[in-house]
Symmetry: C2
Subunit: 238 residues, 2 copies
DNA sequence: ATTGCACATTGACTTTTGTCATGCAGACGA
DNA sequence: TCGTCTGCATGACAAAAGTCAATGTGCAAT
């Protein structure tokens, strides 16, 4: 993932169809092409910091980016993960307020950047991009609302299983024996920060879940050995 | 609050300036007036149920409405509170998906209703209403994101104090001696459901907080006796 | 191959929160 | 005024999760 291609033009971007920039004309793409910049990022790099003013939006062509919130005591939480095809930073672009959380590279990523001033012009010329931002906002909102509901209602084990299943929906595959497998894109500490917990507790939950035969962990590779039980426990709704 | 007035026309609605319907022309208001219905609700009544299809949006003229999510085991959580001037149900109107949570009356309320079919026509004729929904969505999102962050990072006491301070910002006032006071609009059990806890734990947190001299509880009336300490503990940011 | 390092696990213990049972007080209708 | 009901508080105990310390493990650089 995220290896350097020959070119990174929007017109040939493999993930553009999943973004707010799908369905634009050749001329519009060319306009974006002229004002955008793009580069490869290493894990740990930061696209923008919590509290910074908005300078534009970032479109993730490949990789994984987390939005991390740090409170006054220095405790941090991962509020959201954004993968290929996701545009981030649009919220503070629209509100003109500072970023509420940092955007931190979690996996090697290739990310494009469109400066606010250029984006404002694009929005005036193409009102349908605004409509796409509304759709995006609503999708994000449902996502966050589910997280909130689970964080209010579930125990550690339930929340952890949910995270695993979300990763499975995004990245999961089946091996030659048709057994479901998912590679976790982030480390234990970050999983803990997604559900408001600590890495030690994650370890304990993992060994408990393995003992019960629901999952089998091999470092970041997870074999889902009892899908039904997990789906039942996680709950189908929401 | 929420007593029956002589009339409940949008044109004279005291809370309209806070809603998506502000800034509409006389003719547009008259159009809404023709298609809307409105009535008074008692606590416990439900505007729509989790899982129901969307039939329109509800505009709260006066009172308090909570969106309650219930999981498979029957545990419930209050995800959001909506007070006067707030329009709810717009999300599933826009996505055409079922409601993710119920809307339950928490205080006596007067609520207007605009059917989907009529609202669709209004939106076509008045694109700026769509823009207002985007603003509303973003505001809701920031609200939920704060809740999520606190729910991931904070302990019970911190989350409880935050809820109190939110109520204070909305409803708080000062007595003759200039001491800050807030009347809690909901009971302990519902506060517990807002922060993923139980009423007994809320009681304990309250007696602890009283012992420390931060707040003084008289049933639902709360005297804020050490504002600085509370603001420090809750944290100014986000 | 060896060392160093970041990540992960495990154990012992503490703290926080939930659970269950009980009692009390204010609100309301008969 | 009397019972009844709901909300609230408290005590005793159980369960869940965090903390601190020690140890293990794979990986990369030398």
């Amino acid at each position: 993932m995220a290896e350097m291609n020959a070119s990174h033009k929007c017109a040939t971007c493999p993930t553009r169809h999943k973004t707010e920039w799908s369905g634009l004309s050749e001329a519009e793409l060319a306009a974006i092409e002229k004002v955008k910049s793009a580069r490869y990022y290493e894990p740990g790099e930061v696209l923008f910091h919590q509290g910074d003013a908005n300078d534009g939006v970032y479109c993730i062509q490949d990789g994984l980016v987390g939005s991390r919130y740090v409170d006054a005591e220095g405790n941090s939480a991962l509020l959201q993960l954004a993968n290929a095809g996701t545009t981030i930073g649009y919220r503070s672009f629209l509100t003109k307020l500072p970023h509420g959380s940092s955007a931190e590279i979690l996996s090697p990523s290739f990310v494009c950047f469109i400066r606010s001033s250029a984006l404002s012009k694009l929005l005036i010329a193409n009102p349908q991009i605004g409509e796409r931002f509304l759709q995006h906002a609503i999708k994000d909102m449902e996502d966050i609302e589910i997280r909130l509901a689970r964080s209010l209602l579930g125990n550690l084990r339930n929340k952890f299983l949910h995270v695993i299943m979300v990763f499975y929906q995004q990245n999961g595959y089946r091996d030659k024996n048709n057994n479901p497998i998912v590679e976790l894109p982030i480390k234990r500490t970050d999983i803990a920060e997604m559900i408001g917990s600590k890495p030690e507790s994650i370890s304990r939950v993992i060994s408990d879940i393995e003992k019960k035969g629901l999952l089998k962990f091999d470092h970041r590779r997870v074999h889902i050995t009892n899908m039904d039980a997990i789906l039942y426990e996680v709950g189908i709704t929401l």
